[in-house]
């Protein structure tokens, strides 16, 4: 029976707007509003500088997407960033060549991330719980490393190095070098998450861990790798910070958790795992940045600034959501 029909399958390829559309629209509306109030805001150099200031937070947001996609959250990355920067800075001050110090910082970050990963796998606990503890451990180690002081390489040999001059903006470039670097990193992160087996495995684990195991995915190994990646990227963030600011304070990175995770979430990555958008997190970070700078740019009084920030956040996620729902309905 029923052999008579073999319909030719027409897999309709509908034009689909990319999922980042909604967050980009929200971002553009915000920029337009601030630009309407203060036209100087729209000067390209100004927008580029603003972006550069949020480049490191954006980079971390792009990587935290990997963890969210896997259904985990890391609370410690800000302190990994800090400790990596402190270690790199101390190495430089101690006379280690700059590029080797940079490598030390990144390697240290990777090791810290891997430690998180190993603990979460061995203790069979969610990463959020483990990093509740390791965040303090990294912060504490950083405090001890430099006796609660700032790490400020002042030697001209160091500060005159191409690393500091390039990142610190002393080398003329139409686009800040840190921005170029971070945008390149976003390409890599995007391709990794969406075009490689590693990325597919991450998303599979986040979507259905049991099914992932049954498909033969080495879930523990992947978890450790993703944690190490997050640590490594935080380490990169740390040395970028060192180069950009020329110094690290003991508090550097401590306030990054909320804005970075917020950037990823506003960008469209859910907390529940199985999905994630790297580019979205870039735009999310820019939204966070535009709100932060916009409030001072327009000249809102300090006492009112916080309230206005809150209202604008609600407005931005509202726009984002309306576009998203529209898009879904008419797709």
């Amino acid at each position: 029976m029923l052999t008579e029909f073999t319909p030719v399958l027409k897999v309709k390829k509908r034009f689909k707007l990319p999922e980042e559309t909604s967050v980009v629209i929200a971002l553009l509306i915000l920029i337009a509003i601030i630009g309407a109030l203060r036209p100087t805001f729209l000067k390209p150099v100004n927008l580029l500088n603003l972006s550069a200031s949020y480049a490191i937070a954006a980079l971390l947001a792009g990587c935290i997407v990997f963890l969210l996609a896997m259904g985990e959250i890391d609370l410690s990355f800000g302190w990994i960033l800090n400790l990596s920067a402190v270690l790199a800075g101390l190495a430089m001050i101690a006379g280690v060549p700059i590029w080797i110090s940079v490598f030390i910082g990144i390697a240290a970050g990777t090791a810290m991330g891997a430690l998180n990963g190993v603990l979460t796998v061995v203790m069979r606990l969610p990463l959020i719980i483990v990093t509740l503890g390791t965040a303090s451990i990294f912060q504490g180690t950083s405090l001890i490393s430099n006796k609660s002081g700032s790490v400020v390489p002042t030697d001209k040999e160091i500060t005159g190095h191409i690393f500091f001059r390039a990142l610190g903006g002393q080398i003329d470039s139409p686009v800040p070098i840190i921005l170029i670097f971070v945008v390149l990193a976003f390409f890599v992160l995007h391709l990794t998450l969406h075009k490689t087996r590693f990325g597919y495995r991450i998303l599979a684990i986040g979507s259905n861990p049991e099914a992932a195991r049954l498909a033969g995915i080495p879930t523990k190994k992947i978890k450790i790798q993703v944690c190490a990646l997050m640590g490594g990227v935080s380490g990169v963030g740390g040395v970028l910070f060192l180069g950009f600011r020329g110094a690290v304070d003991p508090s550097t990175g401590g306030q990054m958790l909320l804005p970075v995770v917020a950037a990823a979430i506003i960008g469209g990555t859910p907390l529940s795992g199985g999905a994630g958008t790297v580019w979205g997190s870039l735009f999310g970070a820019l939204i966070v940045g535009v709100i932060g700078v916009g409030v001072v740019f327009i000249g809102i009084n300090a006492v009112w600034g916080t309230l206005v920030t809150g209202l604008v956040i609600i407005f931005a996620i509202g726009v984002d959501q309306i576009v998203r729902v529209r898009k879904k309905r008419f797709k």
Binding site: N49, L50, L143, G246, S251, V296, F297, V303
Partner: protein
């Protein structure tokens, strides 16, 4: 008598700061530890990881319960006042430093916050043309609601108001976090590129203002703010910022410990409010004005001191022998703090 001698040896002082991991606070801690070493007492230093009054009060209470003879603490929050007074009533003397809790029955060692704001405002005003100056001055407050900052802001605005032609932009919330602070100042300057000056009230501001000026290749906007951290001094040195006021962390750390030990040993009751001025240091790239008639310093000396405990200690020796030793004579009414 031998009893007293024994108790002298065993004195333990608790030292509680409002945030751990802040270079300026660390300078205070270093001084407190020097005082403890000089006086032969044990010191226990603690503080919450993030600046929060209640967490700090709990730390003070814990350190009291663990058995100390006296406590020095900063009091950043009014909500600590009752709890501290309870500890004082239970017989443990307290000295406040750096952050004043109005109503705490204990002496306070710190800067004259409104007065220092006035000094900063005045110095900025002088640099931009005095009372006849015309144009914008940007003011940034990194943590609206923090009492000391509100006082400084009051002083700055008071001084600036002498020039009728000056329009104050802000005060804007420029955030504490170094990266966010930088971005805020960058935005403020971009929005007001014709500003005559940028005035910050917190430790990260001078450094950020300097970096913003460098990035914008801007040499005309005066930058002023607080604290003599390594980064801030660097900004003054390279000319990207112009004035920074110091709060003499050495005195704010050394003096409270000295007062506690001295009063315990001599059985002097210190359970009422009083103010000991820790002085204000005024630093520009070309001049360093220290309080207490301390010997003149060059900028390079100051930079060296910021990284060396020993140099700091020996520089302040005369103050230790004079002002600090005579702390009782220097005790003023608490109203002097914000006069």
């Amino acid at each position: 008598n031998s009893d007293e001698a024994a108790s002298e040896e065993e004195l333990t002082i608790g030292f509680v700061v409002h945030v751990i991991g802040n270079p300026f606070i660390q300078q205070i801690i270093d001084a407190a530890e020097m005082a403890a070493a000089d006086l032969g007492v044990t010191i226990k230093v603690t503080g919450p990881a993030g600046a929060e009054g209640d967490a700090q009060l709990v730390a003070v209470q814990n350190i009291a319960a663990s058995g100390v003879d006296g406590i020095a603490t900063s009091v950043p929050s009014a909500s600590m006042v009752n709890g501290l007074n309870e500890i004082i009533e239970s017989g443990i003397p307290i000295v406040q430093f750096n952050g004043l809790g109005v109503g705490v029955n204990a002496p306070y060692v710190g800067e004259k916050s409104v007065a220092s704001g006035r000094i900063l405002g005045q110095m900025v005003l002088d640099k931009i043309g005095g009372t006849s100056a015309k144009g914008k001055v940007i003011v940034g407050n990194c943590y609206p609601g923090f009492p000391v900052l509100e006082n400084r802001q009051k002083g700055v605005l008071e001084s600036l108001s002498q020039a009728a032609g000056i329009k104050v932009v802000g005060p804007s919330d420029v955030k504490v976090d170094a990266a966010a602070n930088f971005a805020a100042w960058q935005g403020l300057l971009a929005a007001n590129s014709d500003a005559l000056a940028m005035v910050g009230l917190c430790a990260p501001d001078v450094e950020s203002i300097g970096k913003v000026n460098i990035a914008a290749k801007n040499t005309k906007t005066i930058g002023g703010g607080y604290d003599l951290t390594v980064g801030n001094l660097e900004a003054l040195a390279n000319g990207s910022a112009h004035i920074s006021l110091g709060q003499t962390p050495f005195i704010q750390g050394y003096l409270p410990v000295y007062m506690l030990v001295d009063s315990i040993r001599k059985k002097i009751a210190i359970n009422k409010a009083g103010f000991v001025d820790a002085g204000t240091e005024i630093v520009t790239a070309t001049s360093v004005t220290e309080p207490f008639d301390l010997p003149a310093l060059t900028f390079a000396d100051l930079q060296a001191m910021a990284t060396s405990k020993e140099k700091t200690r020996s520089y302040y020796e005369p103050v230790v022998q004079g002002y600090i030793k005579n702390w009782q004579e220097n005790l003023k009414p608490i109203s002097d703090e914000s006069s």
